[in-house]
């Protein structure tokens, strides 16, 4: 019987597989529960013991995207037959749709602020990381430590000064304010992560490009950037996830115009109080952009494509 040091035994493989599956179930169940709740009726959503098998309805999604008012049978009759499927759902609950809800705008705010701050963070982070990696920066180590130290306390700990500062600068409840804030919070992480990735790109590439007739910036743009793509993509995912899901600052600093979806979703109130299916539907849709972004960038997450062309 052969024995290999590197190849795990069948028993180990089974055990590892089981662990992974168990862990996946534990992490995925709440997510599945949220998605399922989005398709439940309000009654099913708060039933105890919880309902696992239920009759799916789009009521949660209709409620998420619309504002409705309670209507008497006369009013419904006066309004004539329902024109659309969502009208029909609303009326079956004794309500009429009075207009779109604010979820759409909140969602759009999240997109603008989340992707805006991620983009800004990548531009500034890559530039800073490149400088720290390649140039003789005075007090380099101290500066890097200082940058990291901004993350040594929870950002919300400085919420009061930030709140006052934003008020004085007129940044309260603006897209720009939130983009700047999330960029500032994410920048330390992105500088550190990206510096690590850029450090791994051998200097010879840029030196070769410099001699091949390119300026420093062109060498950075044409040679370093394509090879740092992996690092930039994975760092961008981290930054986006933070900015996308951030709740505390969004509650504190936004209200009318620039409010993002996270403070909005849990406060969706239906005609009969908290509308759990609508909340779950809002959370489900809110997941989609980050998932799409991650899936689009996932090929960059597979490392190893840049390695092997310089002999070490």
């Amino acid at each position: 019987m052969s024995f290999s040091v590197t190849e795990p035994t069948n028993g180990t493989k089974w055990f590892a597989g089981l662990l992974v599956v168990a862990y996946a179930i534990i992490t995925l169940v709440p997510l599945l529960w949220i998605i399922a709740t989005g398709f439940k009726s309000p009654t099913d959503s708060i039933a105890y013991p919880p309902v696992v098998v239920f009759e799916p309805t789009l009521e949660g999604y209709v409620n998420l995207f619309t504002d409705r008012t309670r209507a008497t049978d006369d009013m419904i009759e006066a309004a004539g037959p329902p024109e659309t499927w969502y009208d029909e759902i609303a009326r079956s609950r004794g309500t009429v749709i009075t207009g779109p809800s604010r979820y759409g705008e909140r969602f759009l705010n999240s997109v603008i602020i989340g992707f805006g701050s991620t983009f800004l963070c990548m531009v500034l982070g890559t530039a800073a990381a490149y400088a720290f990696s390649r140039f003789r920066v005075p007090l380099k180590d101290d500066l890097l430590f200082f940058i990291l130290s901004t993350r040594m306390m929870p950002p919300i700990a400085v919420s009061i000064p930030i709140f006052l500062m934003f008020r004085n600068l007129g940044l309260n409840d603006t897209h720009l304010g939130m983009i700047l804030l999330y960029t500032a919070v994410n920048l330390s992480l992105s500088v550190w992560l990206l510096k690590g990735f850029i450090d791994e790109i051998p200097m010879e590439y840029e030196e070769a490009a410099l001699i091949d007739g390119y300026t420093r910036f062109q060498a950075f743009y044409k040679v370093v950037l394509p090879q740092a793509a992996t690092g930039i993509a994975s760092t961008a995912i981290f930054c986006l996830i933070f900015a996308w899901n951030e709740y505390a600052f969004a509650v504190l600093l936004t209200s009318g115009t620039a409010q993002t979806a996270p403070p909005f979703i849990p406060n969706i109130i239906g005609v009969n109080g908290k509308d759990w299916p609508a909340v779950a539907a809002g959370a489900t849709i809110f997941l989609v952009p980050v998932m799409v972004f991650t899936v689009l960038l996932r090929k960059h997450l597979l490392r190893g494509i840049t390695f092997g062309a310089v002999r070490k």
């Binding site: 590439y205 030196e207 070769a208 001699i211 091949d212 300026t215 090879q227 494509i305 310089v310």
Partner: protein, 331 residues
């Protein structure tokens, strides 16, 4: 092509002196090889000329122009690095096109295609042009790397041990190839190596560096036959020059502390007895490891010699080199 001259160039990295007052003229169209062990300052010299590093003191001129204020791109030099340093995200063709497409050269596409095709032909990588740079073997990568320099028509080619990572056969092939490319094009070439065969076969001039100093500069023949010091003498020649105390054979000149004997300085069959410790048959030559008055010596003898371990052979020096206590040549 152009003449390159270094005047009093010095460079330190912190405490380490990489180059100390090096002055050197690389004539137009010459093939200059810099020889020396690791840390002698060979690569630093190349980097000074390329502009990747700037000297602390001294002046570098290419074609009579001071290079001090010019970036590497503006100097119009081509360099082959010791590492392959191909751009891994590009194909072989894109790698070769890269310098021609630079904002400085902006070569028309038709001309790019012609040059890349010609160079790929010479380096036998035509069939790999559309491969990803990372999908090549080490030898192919280094050929592409050399090709990236050859597609251009720069003032000077700089090569930093371009063949050291290749296997023996490829190294021998490319050595011949490079030399003939250089001879045909009349390119000025500054070439760093620690391989003395490369130095002897390719160079029109050899510069011997030691701890940042240029010890000797001349044709390979001059350095071989007329070295200025033990150090310079031991850079060239296989087997190495034997260094013994000056008086072992007698007749040493005034001030000589040691005698340097290359195999051709040792006449066999006459003189004093020495013991054959080992016979090393290399095929085309046979080396004798001798013990002479408690000193070890290595020399070359007839390939088909009958000598065996433990035999005795008479030896006598013929016009050897003499060096003083500091290693400088006295006679």
């Amino acid at each position: 092509m152009a003449e390159v001259s270094l005047t009093g160039v010095s460079k330190s990295f912190g405490e380490d002196i990489a180059l100390a007052d090096v002055s050197l003229t690389i004539p137009d169209g010459s093939f200059v090889v810099l020889l020396g062990p690791t840390g002698a300052g060979k690569t630093t010299t190349l980097r000074m000329v390329s502009g990747l590093d700037t000297p602390d003191a001294g002046r570098i001129e290419i074609a009579g122009r001071d290079m001090a204020a010019l970036t590497p791109a503006q100097r119009d030099v081509a360099m082959v690095f010791q590492q392959y340093s191909l751009y891994p995200h590009l194909s072989v063709r894109q790698n070769l096109e890269f310098p021609l497409k630079s904002p400085i050269l902006k070569t028309p596409q038709a001309q790019i295609d012609a040059k890349v095709g010609a160079v790929a032909e010479v380096l036998q990588i035509s069939h790999k042009l559309d491969n990803k740079a990372t999908a090549l073997s080490g030898g192919e990568m280094q050929r592409v790397s050399i090709g990236r320099a050859l597609v251009r028509d720069p003032q000077v080619y700089l090569m930093d041990e371009p063949l050291s990572s290749l296997d023996a056969k490829l190294r021998a092939d490319l050595r011949v190839e490079l030399k003939s490319i250089q001879a045909d094009s009349g390119a000025t070439m500054l070439y760093v190596t620690h391989d003395q065969i490369e130095a002897m076969t390719m160079a029109t001039h050899v510069g011997v560096l030691d701890e940042g100093r240029l010890i000797q500069f001349g044709t390979p023949r001059e350095i071989y036959e007329n070295p200025v010091s033990i150090y310079a003498a031991s850079r060239l020649g296989q087997p190495r020059m034997n260094v013994l105390p000056a008086d072992v054979f007698g007749g040493a000149p005034q001030g000589a502390a040691s005698i340097g004997l290359r195999p051709e300085h040792i006449q066999q069959g006459e003189g004093e007895d020495s013991l054959v410790k080992r016979v090393e048959r290399l095929g085309d030559q046979t080396r004798l490891h001798l013990v002479f008055k408690d000193h070890d010596l290595i020399t070359v003898t007839d390939a088909h010699t009958d000598l065996k371990d433990g035999d005795t052979v008479k030896i006598r020096p013929v016009s050897p080199h003499y060096f003083d206590a500091a290693g400088a040549r006295v006679a």
